[in-house]
């Protein structure tokens, strides 16, 4: 009997220790969640405060009783946020589309076709993966300038059309498609191109979607190259637009309008993410580092 009592005590202690641990765990996780969410909350909150009330608050308030959409109107009228937005969409769509058109055949060639020099070509190609963008930006800047392509979409888009990494990712995926399918297609007299479009692309759709999503995120947030290549606000992308707004836009003090602009350019990607949550996270864990 005494022994049994002992066990009850031990079990109760273990259970309460576990409860305490779980509670502490949730508290810590919540703290980090708040750290992540707070900037977003602050951004939305500030964007709906009126200019006057924002600047009147020496101690910032955590809520507002008189939300206004005036700042959003300002964001689109005082500075050309609409144009930056449109530019970014054009840039993102064209770059992503062109890139897919370039990398799919390349990945197909490496994965399935046999041609003289393939081994060397692939080795060279792999070694390019190690080259940081910073190293080639300099010459590209000079090249584009010399071609008089500054402040054009062509100049913006051309250097980001290929990605060694995505070709590699896609090639790996193509190679997982059983060889028998290719042989069967050859026996049926299917051409390589038809095999690519009818068999490989449909089968690899999940990977292709992943690559598209990653590229769209990359394009939407790109800053360095557009900054170098555009100094005409008509060609600014959202990142440059934000920087421009910050330096010269609404007057440095109109922070609510600035925040409205920030909200507007943040929303599309967040919506995209919430819709494709699983795909985005799976894609990023397979091959995305920020920066």
């Amino acid at each position: 009997m005494e022994k049994k009592m002992d066990f009850d005590k031990i079990e109760r202690r273990a259970a309460s220790r576990k409860r305490a641990f779980t509670a502490a765990d949730y508290v810590l996780l919540t703290v980090w969640a708040l750290m992540v969410l707070f900037p977003f909350y602050w951004m939305v909150l500030t964007s709906v405060k009126s200019y006057g009330s924002y600047n009147g608050e020496y101690i910032p308030r955590f809520f507002t009783l008189a939300p206004t959409l005036q700042n959003y109107q300002d964001a689109f009228t005082t500075v050309s946020l609409g144009r930056y937005f449109l530019n970014t969409i054009i840039y993102t769509v064209v770059t992503t589309g062109l890139m897919m058109a370039v990398i799919i055949p390349a990945a197909f060639a490496f994965a399935r076709l046999d041609f003289p020099g393939k081994g060397i070509a692939f080795t060279l190609f792999l070694s390019l993966m190690m080259i940081p963008n910073e190293l080639v930006v300099i010459t590209n800047f000079v090249t584009i300038t010399n071609l008089k392509l500054r402040n054009t979409f062509t100049g913006l888009i051309l250097p980001s059309v290929t990605s060694v990494f995505y070709i590699y990712l896609l090639k790996e995926n193509f190679e997982q498609i059983p060889d028998e399918l290719y042989k069967a297609a050859r026996v049926d007299g299917t051409s390589d191109f038809k095999y690519l479009t009818r068999v490989m692309i449909p089968i690899s759709k999940p990977t292709l979607v992943t690559i598209v999503i990653l590229k769209v995120i990359e394009c939407w947030n790109s800053y360095v190259w557009p900054r170098l290549i555009t100094d005409n606000p008509n060609y600014y992308l959202v990142s440059n637009g934000i920087q421009e707004i910050r330096e010269n836009g609404f007057g440095r003090e109109n922070i609510p309008a600035m925040m409205a602009a920030v909200v507007v350019i943040s929303v599309p990607l967040i919506v995209l993410f919430l819709i494709f949550r699983k795909k985005v996270m799976a894609g990023v864990s397979r091959g995305g580092t920020k920066g």
């Binding site: 949730y26 910032p60 041609f115 080639v136 000079v142 864990s285």
Partner: protein, 296 residues
Amino acid sequence: MKKRSMKGWLYLLPAMLFLGAFMVYPLIDVLIYSFEEGYNSASQTYFGVGLYNYSRVLHDHYFLQAVQNTFLLVIITVPLSTLIALGISLGLNAIKPLRNLFQTVYFLPYVTNTLAVGLVFMILFKKTAYTDGLINLMIQWFGGQSVDFIDGPYWAKMFVLCFYTIWVVMPFKILILTSALASVNPEYYSAAKMDGTKSFRIFYKITLPMISPMIFYLVITGFIGAFKAYSDAIALFGTDLNAAGMNTIVGYVYDMLYGSSGGYPSYASAAALILFAIVLTITCINLMISKKSVHY
């Protein structure tokens, strides 16, 4: 029988053209630039060939400042963010309800524009004539002295930069570590329980070695990413990073190339190659260490 033909090259052609023009050629070119002394971008002439560009860059006060900033940033943020991410992932791994929600929230910074959210951080930390800013108010609540994190002392600016950098890199690390933890076969934990292994020992002897390849992957990519820091700093301190004393090596490269201090592609090239050498060295060291300590 596979037919060997030149058709493969045809499929490769577009990629080859783009890579040749915007990667291979620039790579060679940047090397040449870096050795051409006194290059003038207007007339496209130079005086001679030598190491002057490198020596000039290495003696540039701004470059040294940028190197210092970058190294500080790397040394502070890489270990710290990896550790915090490990803690959070372990926490996530231990719960069931709300786990998806937390994961989704934690991932948000990945999909936001660095420049845009940087602005929010700026207004949170900045001290102006109208307001001390939220963070400073909080410091005051706890009885501290308010300080301007954006235009104030060096350590304060470095603090914000590190804080924001960690905030930005966290989603990727949490994502990788949570999936690494989830992929550890539960039989190992049962086996450890059979032997009465204490939870710290389980973590230290089983969990950690099992996920060590992923931790090293994160450290290596973390180093590379942090060495290339730039847009975080721009977002917080504006485009004139030299004036703020918060320039990074990449920032220095771009400043040399373009903008008010620009027009010196030779210096930019030399600086970029120095950065590349640093990153390459550190990555090699990392790989050597990981070979020794990752067991399978």
